[in-house]
C-alpha cells in the first residue's frame, strides 16, 4: 500500500502484468509488486480539460504522464470538501513548477501513467537532490537493489 519513491526511469520500466486491473512489479527488486508511487519532477507539459488535468513530470531520468481527475470518484456530499481540495491542487500544476506527486500507477491505452492522489509544490530546488538520494536509499535498503544497479 505504500507509495514507492521512484525515479521516472524506474517507474517507466516497471513490468505490467495483464491482470484486471493490471498489476505492476519492479524488475530485480523485492517486494517487486507495487501499486502506488511518489515522484518529484518539473511539469514540462500540461493539458487542461474540464474533467481532468494531464501533465508530464520530468525528473531528469524520464517523463512520467500524470492525470489529475477533477471530479471525485464518489458523488460529493455537502460536508465533503474534496472538490475544493482537488481544484486547489489543480491550481498548483503549472508549467515549470517542481511538484511532488503521489498516486496510483495505472495504464491508459497501453501507456503507463500516474493517477494523481495529491500534488505538492516543492519550492526548494535542493528537494530534487534529496528526493533522488531518498530513492536510492530506499532502493538499496528496502527493495534490495543490487549495489551496481544504483547507478
Amino acid at each position: 500500500m505504500t507509495h514507492a519513491k521512484l525515479l521516472a526511469a524506474e517507474l517507466l520500466s516497471v513490468i505490467v502484468h495483464p491482470t484486471s486491473p493490471p498489476s505492476f512489479s519492479l524488475p530485480r527488486r523485492r517486494p517487486s509488486s507495487i501499486s502506488r508511487t511518489e515522484i518529484l519532477g518539473i511539469v514540462v507539459s500540461l493539458e487542461a480539460k474540464p474533467r481532468f488535468l494531464k501533465f508530464l513530470l520530468d525528473d531528469g531520468t524520464g517523463c512520467v504522464p500524470c492525470i489529475l481527475w477533477l471530479n471525485p470518484r464518489l458523488p460529493p456530499s455537502d460536508h465533503d470538501p474534496t472538490p475544493e481540495i482537488l481544484r486547489l491542487q489543480a491550481r498548483r500544476v503549472r508549467l515549470g513548477e517542481q511538484l511532488r506527486v503521489r498516486g496510483r500507477i495505472t495504464v491508459y491505452r497501453g501507456m503507463l501513467q500516474i493517477t494523481v492522489g495529491d500534488v505538492l509544490v516543492e519550492k526548494d530546488p535542493n528537494m530534487e537532490t534529496f528526493h533522488r538520494l531518498d530513492c536510492l536509499r530506499i532502493a538499496k535498503r528496502c527493495y534490495g537493489l543490487a549495489k551496481d544497479d544504483l547507478g
Binding site: 505504500t2 496510483r104 538520494l133 535498503r141 528496502c142
Partner: protein, 1249 residues
C-alpha cells in the same frame, strides 16, 4: 694454410689512425709469416671515421720485444712511466699495455696475436699498442725459469746490499720525486722512486733469510714492510704494480733511515744489486678489510675532468686522487677496470645520493679489457693549480661536490668568464675556489701530506664510509633546472590522474573550460642553487636569470634600480612556480633522463623547454641572494652620474605593455621599444660631493605661480612642506631634507606637472621592469643641470630615451597608500611577486605634513572589484557607447584601474563544451586570443574581455593571481550592459599568486562532504518503517508523509479564562516509501501535523462567515491581545476548530474506511451529544484531508510495544485493524525537511552502508 702478414711498427705510426688487428682465433696454429707493408688499402673500411678503430682486412701479426722504458725516453709522460712498457721492433718503439700480463715477458720477443693501436698525438710518431693476446715468439725464447728482475749491468759493482725481503705485495705507490740531501756531501737532489708495501712472514726460516717455498701454509704474511724502489729500479713500477697479491723475493736491498721533514722511517731501499723474483709456489690472499677498503670491477661509462672523475657502470663514481694512477692511454669509455684498496662513501647531497669510490696512495688500478669503440685518449694536464691543491685537501664527498661544481661553473659561465677567472691559476684562486671555500663546512677539510708521507702513514687515513653533505647543493645549469621543473610538472600531472584529482573545470556563459593548476615549490625541495646574470629578455621583455646553458623567468619583488646586469648572482632561497592547464595525452612521451643527475651534469646534457602551456618562473628576493664577482671583461654599464646628479623627480603614471609587432618571427624581438608615462616634478636635484642630494630651485620658480590666478594661493601663500628623500645609488644611501614650496589649495600643482614619455630600448628593458606605477624615481637628464634654462623634459608631450641607469628608484613616502592591496606574504599558499609601494619605500613618517603633498600625486584610481561594480552601476550609461568610424566601431568609455584575484581565464573563441586545453593553448593566434578574465574580490566578480596574446601575459598571470589591471576600458555593449575591456594600453601588474584549489575525486569529495556534515550537524541517520521489525526500541528519524488518519480526539479546554482546544490523541498512518506505519502523538505535535496553525483556504473563510461572531469575545478573553495577532489567528484552521469545540466540548474522529486511498469514511462523535452541522463536518473533513495532502516531514519517534498500544484499542476502529498489522511508533518530534542538510545526511548514510 693461410699466410700471416707481419709489418713493422713504423708502418703503424705512419698510418696514424686507430687500427685493430688479429692473427688467428687459434693461437696454437703457426702459419708462415709474410712481410707486408701496411697502408690504407689493407684496412677493411678506410673510409671509417679516424675516431674509431679500423680493422685490418687480413690476418696480421706484430713481432717485437717488450721491455721497460729507459730514462732516456724523456718524451714519455708520467703515466707511461707508471703503467706502460715499451714495445719495439727494428723500426720503432711505442708504448704497450698488456691485459694478460706475464712478468716473464720483460726483455722477450713476442708475437702479438690480437691488438689495438692508438696514435697518441697526431703526427708526432707516438702511439700505444694494446696487447690483447700474445705468445712468445718461439718455445725457445720462452724463459724456462720463473720471473726475475735485475739490473744485469750492475751486478758486479761493489755496493753492499745484504738485506732481503720475502712477502706478499700489498700495494704499490705511484712514482714520485722526493728532494733528498746527500748525507756525505750535503748536496740537495731529487730522488725518483716508488714505494711498495710487503706483508712479510715472521717465521724463523724467513727471519734467517731462508724462506721455505714448499708449503705455503707455513707462512703468515702479517708484518708490513715498505720497500723504496729508487732510481734506477723505479722503472720497474709497471711490473711491480701488476704483482700486487703475489709473493715476491727481493734481494740486494739496504736498510736505510729515510728522513722526510720531521718524520723518519726505517725502510728497505733498493740498490743497483736489487733483484726481484716471484715465488709461484707460495700463494696467499691479501687480507681484506671491508669496512675501510675493497675491490671493485666495472665498465667505464664516463670519464670527466681529465680523468679526475670516472663513472663506472653508470652508478659508481670513482674519484682519482692523482690522475697518474690511471693508465691514460687505455682508460677509455667501455674499458673494464679493476680497482683495489679504495675508500667507499655513500654521500647524501641535497639533491641526490651517490656512491663514491675514492682512490688513495694505496690504490691499485688495472685495465682488465680494452675499450673497443672509444678512441679518445685522455690528456693529462701536468701542472697542478691552486684549485687542484684545494681539492686534494677535501674529504671524498666534498671533493666530488667541488668537481661537480667545476663542471657546472665551466658549463654555466664559459661565455662570460675565462678559465682563469673560473678555475684560477697556479698561485691564485678562481671563482670556483673562493665560492667553494666559503660554502663548504670546515669539517670537510683534511690534512694534506706528500705522497711519501701519505703512503707511510696510511693507517691514519681519515676517510669515513658515509657523509651527510645535505648542505652541499647543486649549482645547477639552468637548462637542467628547466628540465627538472618540466619533469616535475609531468609527474604532478600523473599523480593527479592517478589520484583521480579533478582539476576545477570552470564555466563561463554555460561553457565548461579546463581546469588550471599551480604548484609552488620551495628551493629546499630541489636542493639546488641558482646562479646567473639577471637580464631582461629582449624578446619577451621579462626578467630572466641567464647562464650559458639557458634561462628561466624570474620575479624579484625587491628589484632595485642599481642592479648590474653583468653581475653573477647566487640565489639559494627561492620558490619555483609551475602553472598551466593540464596536459592532455600520454605523459610518457616526455622523457627527461634525470636532468639533475651527476651524469647529466658532467656530461653537460642540454635540455630545452618542451612543454607548451607550462608557465615556469622563479621568485626570490635580491636581499637573500649573494652577488658574486662581475666578469672583468664585461663592459660596465655604469657611466657617469657623479657629475650630473639626478635632475628630475618622476612619478610613473602608467606603463605601456608589450605589443606583438612581429608575430610571425619568434626570433625577432616582440617589441623594439617599451614605454612608460611619467609625471615630472618641477624640482631639480644635484648630488653633492659627499653623496647628499641637494635641491636646486623651488617649485614656485618652475611653475611660475605668479602667472596663475588662484585666490587661495595668493591668500595663503606657498606652503612649506618638509620631505625626506632617500635614493639608492651603488649601495650608497643618502638622505637629506628638502623643502617643497607647494600650493596647498588644490590639484593645481599636479595639473601643472609635465607629462613625459619614457622610452626603453631593448638593452634597457631591465629598467622598464624595475619601474612601478605610482613609484618615484630620479631621472638623470642628459642635458645636465642648468639653473637658468628650462629643461626639454618639461615640455609637455616630450619623450625621453632611457639609457643605462638613468633612472634611480627613490624612497619617498607621503602617506599610507590606501589603494594598494598589501600582499600578506605570510601565508605559505601565497607567493609575493610584487611588493606594495609602501613596502618598497623606506617609510618616512610624514603624516603631519602629508596633507598638502598628497595633492601633488596623481589621484590614485585603483578600484577593488566591488568598487568597480558600484562604479559601473552608478555611471551614466548614456555616456558610453561606440562611435562609428566608417565600418569600424570605436568603443567609448572611461579608463579605470581595477585590482582583484583572477578566478579564472579562458579563451573566448572556444565555443565547444568539450573544450580541451590543447584547443585553448596550443594553437597560436598571432593577433592575440580573445580572452575572458574573471576577476574577483571577496564578494563580487567582474568579467574582463579583450584580445591578449599569451606570449604577452605577465609572469604569474593565471588563476589565483592577485592582479591590478591599469587602464581598462569601461564601456557599454549594444544591449546597454556595462563591460570591461582590455585595451592595447592595459597594463597588468601581478602582485602575488597563490595555490589553485582543486576538486578531488569521488573519495576525496566524500571526505569533504563528511567533514561538512560533521561540522554542520550531528544528525542520526534516517530510518525506514520497513526496518522497524528488526530494530531495537530506540528513537529513530523517519522521512515520511501522512497517508491517512486513524483517529483524532479533540477537546476544548480553558487556558486561564480563555477557551482553547487540546488534542489528547491523534493517530495517523504514515508512509515513508518503504512501508506504512501507525503513529501516535498528541497536542502540539498533532496540531502541527494537522496544520491547525496554517491559514485556512479562502473558500472556507466564506463558508465560515457565520462563525464571525467571535472577535469581541476572543479579544475580551485575552486570547488575542492585539489586532494583528487576532487577525492572524482568525484566519487559521484552529480558530474555526475552537468554535466547533465550544459547542461539542469533545470531538472524536475515527476512520472506518477499509481503503487507504480516500479518507472519506470518517465518523465524527460529539462529546456533547449534539449533531454536527454540515459546516462543522466539512471543516473537520477539510482539516483531515489537508493533513493527508501535507508535505514531507521528518518525524522522530520511538517504537511502541503491544502493551503500550493497547490503551489506544478503544479508539481504533475495526476497519483500521483490518487495514493490516503495522508497527506503532510514538512521535516525539516533528520537523520540516531541510533538503540540503538532509541530503548530506543521506549521502553519508549511503556511503556507510
Amino acid at each position: 694454410m693461410e699466410t700471416l702478414g707481419s709489418f713493422s711498427l713504423s708502418d703503424l705510426l705512419r698510418l696514424s689512425r686507430p687500427v685493430t688487428g688479429t692473427a688467428s682465433l687459434n693461437p696454437a696454429s703457426s702459419p708462415p709469416l709474410k712481410r707486408i707493408k701496411l697502408d690504407q688499402n689493407l684496412l677493411l673500411n678506410p673510409s671509417l671515421s679516424r675516431k674509431s678503430f679500423t680493422p685490418i682486412s687480413l690476418p696480421v701479426l706484430l713481432v717485437g720485444t717488450v721491455n721497460f722504458f729507459s730514462e732516456a725516453s724523456s718524451h714519455r709522460t708520467g703515466s707511461c712511466l707508471n703503467h706502460c712498457l715499451s714495445f719495439s721492433d727494428s723500426s720503432a718503439t711505442i708504448c704497450c699495455y698488456i691485459v694478460d700480463f706475464d712478468p716473464r715477458v720483460i726483455g722477450q720477443e713476442i708475437h702479438v696475436m690480437a691488438w689495438n693501436y692508438l696514435p697518441i698525438k697526431q703526427g708526432e710518431g707516438q702511439g700505444v699498442l694494446e696487447i690483447i693476446q700474445w705468445r712468445f715468439s718461439s718455445p725457445d725464447t720462452a724463459p724456462l725459469r720463473g720471473f726475475s728482475l735485475s739490473l744485469e749491468s750492475a751486478q758486479d759493482s761493489g755496493v753492499k746490499a745484504s738485506s732481503f725481503a720475502f712477502g706478499l705485495v700489498k700495494s704499490v705507490s705511484l712514482t714520485f720525486t722526493l728532494p733528498i740531501e746527500n748525507g756525505k756531501t750535503g748536496e740537495m737532489g731529487d730522488s725518483v722512486g716508488f714505494l711498495a708495501e710487503l706483508l712479510t712472514c715472521m717465521c724463523d726460516k724467513c727471519a734467517k733469510m731462508r724462506p721455505s717455498n714448499e708449503k705455503s701454509g707455513l707462512h703468515r704474511f702479517t708484518e708490513s714492510k715498505v720497500v723504496y724502489f729508487i732510481r734506477p729500479t723505479h722503472k720497474w713500477r709497471p711490473v711491480v704494480a701488476k704483482l700486487v697479491g703475489k709473493v715476491m723475493y727481493l734481494w740486494g736491498l739496504k736498510k736505510r733511515l729515510v728522513v722526510v721533514g720531521k718524520e723518519s722511517y726505517v725502510m728497505l731501499v733498493s740498490t743497483i744489486k736489487t733483484k726481484v723474483s716471484l715465488c709461484d709456489s707460495v700463494v696467499s690472499d691479501l687480507p681484506t678489510d671491508h669496512s675501510k677498503r675493497g675491490a671493485y670491477r666495472g665498465i667505464v661509462t664516463g670519464i670527466y675532468l681529465h680523468g679526475a672523475v670516472i663513472e663506472l657502470d653508470k652508478k659508481v663514481w670513482l674519484l682519482i686522487h692523482d690522475t697518474l694512477l690511471v693508465p691514460h692511454h687505455s682508460l677509455r669509455i667501455g674499458a673494464t677496470v679493476s680497482v683495489r684498496d679504495f675508500h667507499f662513501v655513500h654521500a647524501n647531497f641535497a639533491w641526490t645520493k651517490v656512491i663514491i669510490v675514492g682512490t688513495c696512495v694505496m690504490t691499485s688500478f688495472c685495465i682488465d679489457s680494452f675499450a673497443v669503440s672509444d678512441t679518445k685518449v685522455l690528456v693529462k694536464t701536468e701542472e697542478k693549480s691552486a684549485l687542484g691543491t684545494f681539492v686534494e685537501s677535501l674529504n671524498l664527498s666534498a671533493k666530488f661536490w667541488i668537481l661537480l661544481s667545476v663542471s657546472c661553473f665551466k658549463y654555466k659561465f664559459r661565455a662570460v668568464l675565462s678559465d682563469k677567472e673560473l678555475l684560477g691559476s697556479i698561485n691564485s684562486a678562481g671563482l670556483v675556489q673562493t665560492y667553494s671555500s666559503r660554502s663548504l663546512p670546515p669539517d670537510v677539510f683534511r690534512p694534506h701530506n706528500s705522497m711519501f708521507m701519505a703512503y707511510c702513514n696510511h693507517d691514519q687515513c681519515t676517510y669515513s664510509s658515509g657523509h651527510d653533505q645535505s648542505k652541499c647543493k647543486l649549482i645547477v645549469p639552468l637548462s637542467n633546472f628547466v628540465g627538472r621543473c618540466e619533469e616535475l610538472w609531468i609527474s604532478i600531472q600523473s599523480e593527479m590522474s592517478e589520484s583521480d584529482e579533478v582539476h576545477c573545470n570552470n564555466t563561463c556563459d554555460g561553457i565548461s573550460y579546463p581546469g588550471y593548476r599551480r604548484r609552488i615549490i620551495p628551493s629546499d625541495d630541489f636542493g639546488c642553487i641558482l646562479m646567473g646574470n639577471i637580464q631582461a629578455c629582449s624578446s619577451s621583455g621579462r626578467l630572466q636569470l641567464v647562464d650559458a646553458t639557458g634561462n628561466i623567468d624570474v620575479v624579484i619583488p625587491d628589484l632595485p634600480s642599481d642592479l648590474s646586469v653583468q653581475t653573477i648572482y647566487e640565489v639559494k632561497d627561492y620558490k619555483v612556480v609551475l602553472e598551466g592547464f593540464g596536459i592532455e595525452g600520454d605523459n610518457s612521451m616526455y622523457e627527461f633522463g634525470e636532468p639533475l643527475s651527476c651524469h647529466a651534469i658532467f656530461k653537460r646534457q642540454t635540455y630545452r623547454k618542451r612543454i607548451h602551456g607550462l608557465m615556469l618562473y622563479v621568485q626570490f628576493y635580491l636581499k637573500d641572494s649573494v652577488c658574486l664577482a662581475s666578469p672583468s671583461r664585461a663592459p660596465s654599464n655604469l657611466p657617469h652620474s657623479e657629475n650630473h646628479g639626478p635632475n628630475h623627480l618622476l612619478v610613473i603614471s602608467h606603463k605601456f605593455p608589450l605589443t606583438n609587432k612581429f608575430p610571425f618571427n619568434s626570433a625577432m624581438s616582440i617589441c623594439s621599444s617599451l614605454f612608460a608615462e611619467a609625471l615630472i616634478f618641477p624640482c631639480k636635484f644635484k648630488r653633492s660631493e659627499n653623496g647628499e642630494l641637494i635641491q636646486l630651485g623651488k617649485f614656485q620658480d618652475a611653475l611660475d605661480f605668479s602667472k596663475r590666478d588662484h585666490k587661495k594661493a595668493s591668500e595663503k601663500g606657498p606652503w612649506l612642506a618638509p620631505c625626506s628623500l632617500a635614493s639608492r645609488n651603488g649601495g650608497v644611501s643618502a638622505t637629506t631634507l628638502c623643502q617643497f614650496n607647494v600650493d596647498s589649495s588644490n590639484y593645481m600643482v599636479s595639473k601643472s606637472l609635465a607629462r613625459i614619455l619614457l622610452e626603453f630600448k631593448c638593452e634597457n628593458f631591465f629598467s622598464y621592469q624595475m619601474l612601478r606605477i605610482g613609484g618615484y624615481y630620479f631621472l638623470n637628464c642628459s642635458e645636465g643641470f642648468n639653473p637658468t634654462r628650462v629643461c626639454k623634459c618639461w615640455e609637455k608631450g616630450g619623450s625621453f630615451v632611457v639609457t643605462g641607469n638613468t633612472l634611480q628608484s627613490l624612497s619617498l613616502s607621503f602617506s599610507d597608500d590606501v589603494n594598494q592591496k598589501e600582499p600578506s606574504g605570510t601565508s605559505s599558499d601565497e607567493l609575493v611577486l610584487l611588493k606594495s609601494l609602501s613596502e618598497l619605500h623606506e617609510i618616512v613618517d610624514l603624516k603631519s605634513v602629508s596633507q598638502g603633498i598628497t595633492k601633488l600625486l596623481p589621484p590614485s584610481q585603483v578600484l577593488s572589484v566591488s568598487s568597480c561594480l558600484q562604479h559601473m552601476f552608478h555611471q551614466n550609461r548614456n555616456l558610453y557607447g561606440s562611435t562609428d568610424l566608417g565600418e569600424q566601431r570605436l568603443a567609448q568609455g572611461d579608463l579605470i584601474s581595477v585590482c582583484g584575484d583572477v578566478e579564472y581565464f579562458h579563451d573566448n573563441d572556444c565555443d565547444s563544451v568539450s573544450l580541451t586545453a590543447s584547443k585553448c593553448l596550443k594553437i597560436p593566434n598571432p593577433r592575440g586570443n580573445n580572452i575572458c578574465i574573471h576577476l574577483a574580490d571577496d564578494n563580487q566578480m567582474v568579467v574582463i574581455r579583450g584580445n591578449l596574446s599569451r606570449k604577452l601575459f605577465p609572469i604569474g598571470f593565471g588563476v589565483g593571481a592577485s592582479a591590478t589591471f591599469h587602464r581598462l576600458l569601461l564601456t557599454c555593449s549594444s544591449n546597454r550592459k556595462e563591460k570591461l575591456l582590455l585595451t592595447p594600453v592595459t597594463y597588468i601588474e601581478i602582485t602575488s599568486v597563490r595555490k589553485v584549489k582543486t576538486n578531488r575525486g569521488p573519495n576525496q569529495q566524500m571526505f569533504k562532504v563528511d567533514s561538512l556534515i560533521e561540522s554542520l550537524c550531528h544528525l542520526p541517520p534516517l530510518g525506514l518503517f520497513s526496518d522497524l521489525h528488526n530494530k531495537d526500541s530506540k528513537v529513530t528519524r523517519f522521512c515520511c508523509r501522512i497517508l491517512t488518519l486513524n483517529v483524532l480526539v479533540l477537546e476544548s479546554c480553558m487556558i486561564g479564562s480563555s477557551p482553547a482546544y487540546k488534542i489528547p490523541l491523534a493517530g495517523f498512518v504514515l508512509d515513508d516509501g518503504s512501508a506504512l506505519c501507525n503513529c501516535w502523538t498528541d497536542n502540539d505535535l498533532a496540531s502541527t501535523l494537522l496544520s491547525l496553525r496554517d491559514i485556512c483556504s479562502s473558500f472556507f473563510s466564506s463558508d465560515f462567515s457565520s462563525l464571525e461572531r467571535a472577535p469581541k469575545r476572543l479579544l475580551a478573553s485575552g486570547l488575542c491581545h492585539c489586532s494583528d495577532d487576532y487577525s492572524n489567528y482568525k484566519n487559521t484552521v484552529g480558530y474555526y476548530l475552537d468554535h466547533i469545540l465550544k459547542k461539542h466540548h469533545k470531538v472524536i474522529v475515527k476512520n472506518h474506511g477499509v481503503s487507504l486511498d480516500i479518507c472519506q469514511d470518517l465518523l465524527f462523535h460529539s462529546g456533547s451529544g449534539k449533531v454536527f452541522s454540515i459546516l462543522e463536518e466539512r471543516l473537520l473533513n477539510y482539516i483531515i484531508l489537508s493533513s493527508c495532502h501535507g508535505p514531507t516531514f521528518i518525524a522522530t519517534g520511538l517504537v511502541m510495544d503491544a502493551s503500550a498500544t493497547k490503551q489506544f484499542d478503544a479508539y481504533i476502529s475495526e476497519s483500521a485493524v483490518l487495514r493490516g498489522c503495522m508497527q506503532n511508533i510514538w512521535i516525539r518530534e516533528v520537523a520540516c525537511v531541510d533538503p540540503l542538510k538532509d541530503a548530506f545526511n543521506l549521502i553519508l548514510d549511503l556511503k556507510n552502508g
